[in-house]
Symmetry: C2
Subunit: 133 residues, 2 copies
C-alpha cells in the first residue's frame, strides 16, 4: 500500500531556524496565560477585574505577574485613570501585540479543529463502551 506520508519535509537549515525561532517566541509568549490575556485585550482595553473575569480560571496573583511580564515585553500598556473614583486602571494591547495576529489566527483555527476531533473521539469511545456493556 503506497501511503502518502510527509508531503513536505523541512531541510536541515530550515529546521534549525524554526527550532530557534519557536524557542524565542515561546520564551516570551509561552505558558498557560500570556496569549490568552492578549486575546482578551484584543477585544478592547480592560480593567484588572474585568480581565480576570474574561480570562477564566486565572487568579489575581498570577494575572498581576503575567501583566507585568507582558508590559515589560511591550505587549500591553497600563493606564491609570486617577481622576475617577475609585482609581481605575486600564490595560491595553499594543501594536506589538497586534503583530501576533497570524499566530493567534493559526492557533485558533487549529485549536477549534482539535477540539472537534477530541469530541468525536470521545463519542466513539462512548459507542464502544455501550456495545461492550
Amino acid at each position: 500500500m503506497p501511503e502518502i506520508k510527509n508531503s513536505k519535509r523541512l531541510s536541515r537549515p530550515d529546521c534549525v531556524t524554526s527550532l530557534n525561532a519557536v524557542g524565542d517566541a515561546f520564551y516570551v509568549i509561552g505558558g498557560k496565560w500570556k496569549l490568552r490575556i492578549i486575546i482578551a485585550l484584543s477585544e478592547g482595553p480592560k480593567r484588572f477585574n474585568e480581565l480576570q473575569r474574561t480570562v477564566e480560571g486565572i487568579s489575581a496573583r498570577v494575572l498581576s505577574s503575567e501583566l507585568k511580564d507582558l508590559e515589560m515585553n511591550g505587549f500591553v500598556t497600563r493606564n491609570v485613570h486617577a481622576e475617577t473614583f475609585p482609581v481605575v486602571v486600564e490595560y491595553e494591547a499594543t501594536g506589538y501585540a497586534d503583530s501576533l495576529r497570524d499566530v493567534l489566527k493559526a492557533l485558533t483555527a487549529w485549536g477549534t479543529m482539535h477540539r472537534k476531533r477530541i469530541k468525536r473521539q470521545a463519542e466513539m469511545e462512548q459507542q464502544k463502551t455501550s456495545k461492550h456493556a
Copy 2:
C-alpha cells in the same frame, strides 16, 4: 495627535472562541518542548539520541516523557527495529503533526521577527551605555 491604534478588534463571541481554542491547543502542544520536538521530526524520522542532539538542551528524562505525551495525542509514532543491533527506535511525525503546519509557520515567522527586534534593542542599549561612559 491622531494615532492609529488597534485596526481590528475582536467581537465578544470571537474573543471567547479564540480564548477556548487557544486554551485547548496549549493543553496538548503547550510547554517548552512539544512543538520543538515536532519541528525536529518534520525534517524526517529520528532515533532517540539523534532527537536529543537536535532539540538542544533537552534531557533524556524530559524527552522521553514528552515523546510519550506526543504519541498518546497522535502526533508521533514509535517504531522499533528489533532486527538490528543494538535495537533501534525511530520516532516519526504523523499526519496530525502536519496539521500544525500553519501554526508552526506563523510562529517561526513571528519568532524570527521578534529575535531581530530584541537584537536591535540590545544594540541600542549598548550605544546608550557607551555614550554615558
